[in-house]
Symmetry: C2
Subunit: 462 residues, 2 copies
C-alpha cells in the first residue's frame, strides 16, 4: 500500500500542530527515561476508587494517584477499541490511518478482516526505537491480527497477548466459560494457546510485564501493557474470584488494580521508578448496555460508542516519582493523541514526518506548564460529531450506539459548558451564539480537511 | 408540650436498638476526646474531588480523606433540611421528634412556623453536656427560630448563625444580591445583623469556629459547624470569587474546603488533633432542578428531596489522627442517625432514655470492627418509602420532589443491588423474590411501628 507522503503535508490544519523538539547529541551517559503505558479495555470514568466509585476498591491506583497526578479531563481518540488504539499509538486522529468505520468494514476490526494498521504508520514504539528503547507489547492489539500487522511489525521487539477482543471467535454457543471463546493467545507471531485461558490473562500479562521490567534494569524501555479486561466476557483469576462488593466486574477491575501495583513495585525494585513515566488509562467508556457486567461513567453522560463525555473521557493517572508532582489533580485538557509527541520529547527522539494531532505534554506532566491543547474533536468512525474548545463542547451530530440508530443532526448544535456542567445536562446554545459560531467554524474547517484524507485501503478490498 | 416518656418505651422495634455503653468512674485525668461535626447544605455525593468531581478542587477535604477514612455508603436521615438535622442531632428517625411533613406544615420549617424541635428531645450537645463538654453551634439551625427552639435551648452554650435556610425571607424581589434576602444572623438568641451579609457567612463561621477551638485547648468540646452553603442562593467571599472552573457553585464549595482546612489547622495548632474526632458530611443531596447552580450526585440517581440514593447518600469523611485509620475507603453502612450513640461512646456518656435508631460507630471509625448496622429506612416526610438491608434496596413508594408529584406505589417493589448497581439502573425484583419478601416484611413492620408514633404537635396549632 504505497502512500504519498507529500500528501500528508498538504493537510496542515489547525489540528495539525508542530511540536517543538530537538535531537541533540547525547552527551549524557544517562539513558533516557522509560515509558510504561497501561491501557485497559472498556473501563469507565467512574470505575476507580479515586474517581468516585463506591464499591470497587483500587488501593494501588489510588496510591498511584497520590504519588502522581490524576487527570480529570483526559480524552481518548475514539469511543471504540480499534480506532482508540490507532490514535494512541500514532498520535493521529484514527481517520488518518484508516482505522475507522467507513475505511474498515465495521466499527472495529474482526477476525475475518484482512487489514490492519498500515505499515507506513509510525507508532510510539517506532519513535522510541530511534533511541534504542527495548519495546514490548503485552495484551490486546486489535490493529490487525495477520502476521504483517502484528506489534512486531510496528516497532515492538516482542509481543504477548490476544490480538483482538476477547468476545470475538465465539464459536461454541452462549456459554461464558473460557473454553467457549476461541480467541488465540500469541507470542510474537505464533499462537501459543487457543482458546486462551481468559481466567489467567490479567495475571499472565502482569507476570510478563514484571519480567520485562526486571530484564531491563539499565536500558531504556517502552512497555505497552494493554489489558484484555475489563472487556466482556469478564474473567479473573482464582485469587480475585468473589472478592469485590461490585461483583464480577469489580473482581476484574480489582485484579487490574493489583496488576498496576505489581508493575510499580517491579519498577521500584529495579531502582528505575525515578526514571520511568507510567501512564494509566482506558481505551473508551463503559459498555453500558451490558448492565451490571459493564462499568460506570460516573457523573458523565453516555458510554462506549458515544460522543457524549462518558464514551471518550477516561481516568488517566501519571506517575513518575520526582518528576510528576505528587498529590495533584489536574483538569487540564489532554488526550491519548498527545502520547506520541510526549514520548518523543521524553526520549529526545525525532517526530514522524507527517501531520500529527498531538502535543508534547511533558511540561504539563511535570507540572511546569499548562496544557498547550485547547481543542479536541469527537469522532464516530470517519465522521466528526462534536468539538470541544476550552470548556465549551458543541454536538453537531449524535448517534446512539447500542443499538445503533441513525445519526441525529443538531442545528444549532447542542452546547455544553463542560467545566460547569460535566454531565452535559444543560444545553446553553441559545445563550451563547458567539461561542456556537466559533465552534461551528472550527468544526466545519476540520470536517472539510478530514474529508480530503485518502482511504489507505482504497486499493484493497477491506 | 408534655410528653409521656413511657410511651417511647413501648415502641421498641427492630430499628430501636440498645447501644452498649458504660459510664465508668473517670479515673483518668485526660479529658474525653473532642467532637467536631462539619455539616454542609445541599452538597451532592459527587461534588468533592475525592468523590470524583472533575472541576471542583477540594485539596483540604482530599487531604482530610487521605489522613482519615472516606465512607462511600453513608446516609443522612432525610432528603431535606429540617428532618435531616433533627435526625443527626437526636439519633432518631425525624418522625419521632415530629420534624417531618405531616407533623409540621411543610417539608421543612419556615419563618412563619411557630414550632421547632421539642425541648424533650435530647441532642448530641445535651449528651455531651453530661460530661462537661463546651458546646457551640455555628451556622444553619433550621429546627425552630423562636427563642424557645434555638440551639441554646438544646445543649449548646452558644450559637452564631442563620436560623433557617438562606432563601427564606426573600422579601425584596428576585435579585440575588445579599441585601435582597432578609435572613437574620444571630448570636445566641439575638439578631445581630439583618439581612445577613451572605457573602461573608462561610468566612465568618470559619473564624468563629477557629476561635472556639483556640479558646478550649484543654477542655473537651463539641463544635457543630453547619454551613449555610452551598444552599442556593450561593454566596462566597471576595477571595473565592471566580476562582473555580465549576463556576459559582464551585467557588462556594472551594471556600468550604478552605474552611475545613482552617478548622483542622486550628486543631493542630492547639495540639488537640490527636484527641479530636472530626466528621464532615452534608444534610441531603444536590438541588438538581437548580441546574448549574445545584450540585451533582455523581453516579447516584436522583437528588435532594428524593429517596433515590442521590437524595440521601452523602460524602462522609472521618478524621482523627492516630485513631481513625488513614488512607482508608470504607463501604460500610453508616448513617447520620449513628452520630449520637457514637458521640456518647466517645465521651463515655449515658444515652438518652428513649428509643434510638443509631449505633455506636466508634469501633468502625477506629477500624476495629465492621458496622453493626445492616438496615436503613428511607423516609419522605412522615412516610416510609424504601428500605435497605445489606446490599439490597427495595422501593415501595417513590415520589418526584421538584415539582412534587403524587407518590407512585410499586408492588412488587423496585429492587436494586446497590453494591453492584449503585446508580439504581437495573431492577432485579423478578430474579430475587426471596429478597423482596424479606424486605417487604421488614418494611411493613417499620411502617406499622411508625404509624403508632404520636404527633408532638397534636395539642398545638403547627
Amino acid at each position: 500500500m504505497p502512500r504519498n507522503v507529500c500528501l500528508w503535508w498538504s493537510l496542515l490544519t489547525l489540528f495539525v500542530l508542530p511540536v517543538a523538539f530537538s535531537v541533540g547529541d547525547d552527551t549524557s551517559s544517562e539513558p533516557p527515561p522509560n515509558l510504561v503505558v497501561i491501557f485497559v479495555d472498556d473501563l469507565g470514568y467512574g470505575d476507580l476508587g479515586c474517581y468516585g466509585h463506591p464499591t470497587i476498591r483500587t488501593p494501588h491506583l489510588d496510591r498511584m494517584a497520590q504519588q502522581g497526578t490524576r487527570f480529570t479531563q483526559f480524552y481518548v481518540a475514539a469511543n471504540v477499541c480499534t480506532p482508540s488504539r490507532a490514535g494512541l499509538l500514532t498520535g493521529r486522529y484514527p481517520i488518518r490511518s484508516g482505522m475507522v468505520e467507513g475505511m474498515i468494514p465495521r466499527r472495529v476490526l474482526f477476525p475475518d478482516d484482512t487489514i490492519g494498521l498500515p505499515a507506513e504508520e509510525v507508532t510510539i514504539a517506532e519513535v522510541l526505537k530511534q533511541r534504542n528503547y527495548a519495546t514490548k507489547a503485552i495484551g490486546k492489539w486489535h490493529l490487525g491480527h495477520l502476521p504483517e500487522f502484528l506489534p512486531t511489525t510496528q516497532g515492538f521487539d516482542s509481543y504477548f497477548g490476544v490480538p483482538y477482543s476477547n468476545d470475538m471467535d465465539h464459536v461454541r454457543g452462549n456459554d461464558e466459560r473460557p473454553a467457549y471463546w476461541n480467541v488465540p493467545l500469541m507470542r510474537d507471531s505464533e499462537i501459543v494457546e487457543r482458546p486462551a485461558d481468559q481466567n489467567t490473562l490479567t495475571k499472565r500479562y502482569t507476570l510478563e510485564a514484571v519480567e520485562f521490567v526486571r530484564e531491563h534494569p539499565e536500558n531504556p524501555f517502552f512497555l505497552y501493557l494493554a489489558h484484555t479486561m475489563p472487556h466482556i466476557p469478564l474473567f479473573r483469576s482464582k485469587e480475585f474470584t468473589d472478592i469485590s462488593l461490585r461483583g464480577l466486574y469489580g473482581d476484574v477491575v480489582e485484579e487490574i488494580d493489583w496488576s498496576v501495583g505489581q508493575v510499580l513495585e517491579a519498577l521500584r525494585e529495579s531502582n528505575c521508578a525515578q526514571r520511568t513515566l507510567v501512564l494509566f488509562t482506558s481505551d473508551n467508556g463503559p459498555w453500558l448496555v451490558q448492565n451490571e457486567a459493564g462499568g460506570s461513567a460516573g457523573l458523565l453522560r453516555g458510554g462506549k460508542g458515544s460522543t457524549w463525555e462518558g464514551g471518550m473521557r477516561e481516568p488517566m493517572i501519571a506517575w513518575w516519582p520526582g518528576h510528576v508532582p505528587a498529590n495533584r489533580v489536574s483538569a487540564e485538557l489532554i488526550t491519548s493523541l498527545d502520547l506520541l509527541p510526549t514520548a518523543a520529547a521524553l526520549a529526545n527522539a525525532p517526530l514522524p514526518d507527517r501531520p500529527l494531532d498531538g502535543y508534547n505534554m511533558l511540561p504539563l506532566l511535570e507540572g511546569k506548564e499548562d496544557s498547550p491543547r485547547d481543542t479536541f474533536v469527537y469522532h464516530r468512525g470517519a465522521h466528526s460529531h462534536a468539538i470541544r474548545k476550552g470548556p465549551w463542547k458543541a454536538h453537531f451530530i449524535n448517534q446512539t450506539s447500542y443499538p445503533t440508530k441513525d445519526p441525529v443532526h443538531y442545528d444549532p448544535p447542542l452546547l455544553y459548558h463542560l467545566e460547569k456542567d460535566p454531565s452535559e445536562k444543560y444545553n446553553v446554545a441559545e445563550n451563547h451564539p458567539e461561542v456556537v459560531a466559533e465552534l461551528r467554524q472550527l468544526f466545519e474547517q476540520h470536517v472539510e480537511e478530514i474529508a480530503r484524507l485518502p482511504n489507505p485501503f482504497a486499493a484493497t478490498k477491506p
